[in-house]
Assembly symmetry: C2
Homo-oligomer: 242 residues x 2
Amino acid sequence: MTTALLMSSSRMGSLGYLEHATSQLDTILEGTSRKVLFVPYAAVSFSYDAYEELAAPPFTNAEAQLTSIHRFDDPVAAVREADVIAVGGGNSFALLTRLYGAEIVAEIRERVTNHGTRYIGWSAGTNVATPTIRTTNDMPIVEPPSFGAIGLVPFQINPHFIPGKPAGHNGESREERLAEFTAINPGEEVLGLVEGSALHVTGTRGTILGDNDALVFSGSKPVRTIAAGASFELAEIQGPVA
Amino acid sequence: MTTALLMSSSRMGSLGYLEHATSQLDTILEGTSRKVLFVPYAAVSFSYDAYEELAAPPFTNAEAQLTSIHRFDDPVAAVREADVIAVGGGNSFALLTRLYGAEIVAEIRERVTNHGTRYIGWSAGTNVATPTIRTTNDMPIVEPPSFGAIGLVPFQINPHFIPGKPAGHNGESREERLAEFTAINPGEEVLGLVEGSALHVTGTRGTILGDNDALVFSGSKPVRTIAAGASFELAEIQGPVA
């Protein structure tokens, strides 16, 4: 049974790194060894060592211990032996390219889906937990072998959702980008999570954590909201259409 | 000899569609038949018919006639016979996927590089004129067969360049995204064009058109500027490193 915490972002407003997520981390770590395997592959402009140092304190506050996968000789074995896997944010294309390089895309899917390993992701770490990275906000700085990702939930998520666009600029708003997604992928829907929000997955059900409602973007129907705190069947949001 | 007008955007500030580009269009159309083959494949949320209607007036103002490629039975033949090709903005991933689908990526490259066909692109149409779409700002709503693109210039361009980021949001600024690009692609540089600017390519030389300086992002060196109106050898900006 899949248990996963898929966070929109590492930060909310002016709070510190994962500071908004203390109770969310507590919930997902409950009943585990509290030893967490950290995947820092989304880091591009800073080192894996630096990323481990940045991400550790909120886990320490939750009485958990973070160890980065780059400290292991065999990343596949590290995933296989992990009780909890945390995949940090950064660049989704770099992250997915490196997950494929380490040959752990299928391994993470298998462990979380069938062996009870818990998954924590934020930002890019949430993107790769969906079927594909087609709803990332990141620049495609490297080309992964495929857009196909871990797929712990059956639908796409757009993290860091923000409405509107900056004044005086003619780039697309996020709503326009997601409207393009649903136009070119008919029938498929996208869950938008604003910063500070998360999707808590337990088996076939999801719960929206945080203070803000989540949005479901659909090409054919109006945008609908899922209230903060509400639970729903994951199958209610339409994933990729074969 | 390649002759191309690579515009950052279809709009500048509150001006109308390509309204800022009247003199730029005049320059590139000079000496041609003024019959322009339009490629509307970047359109996702609206029809090719609608896109042709939107894009035609600024060309009419330049005494040119725009005909969309979707009106031809054979897109490869349409490209082969074109005197001027204009590739409009929209979503770069949709555009590149459809260019490959119509089998005209290599054909456009060949015609523009070796047969004097002129190329006009804006936004996504500029992205696909570079070696790859790795510096697009667009959401990867569909997966193209490859990130490799037409490659009329030897380096990446970031259109719609804008400094900074919206207040209260924790997504990356454009500078941070481009710093990630240069970090993961060592030695490679990116030309940033703000809205309203363009790169005019004639042979091995480029000229920055518009009122604003262009920026060159480099991982190892500080950001440098190319003054509005200045000409330079294209080889001065470092492209993909083999």
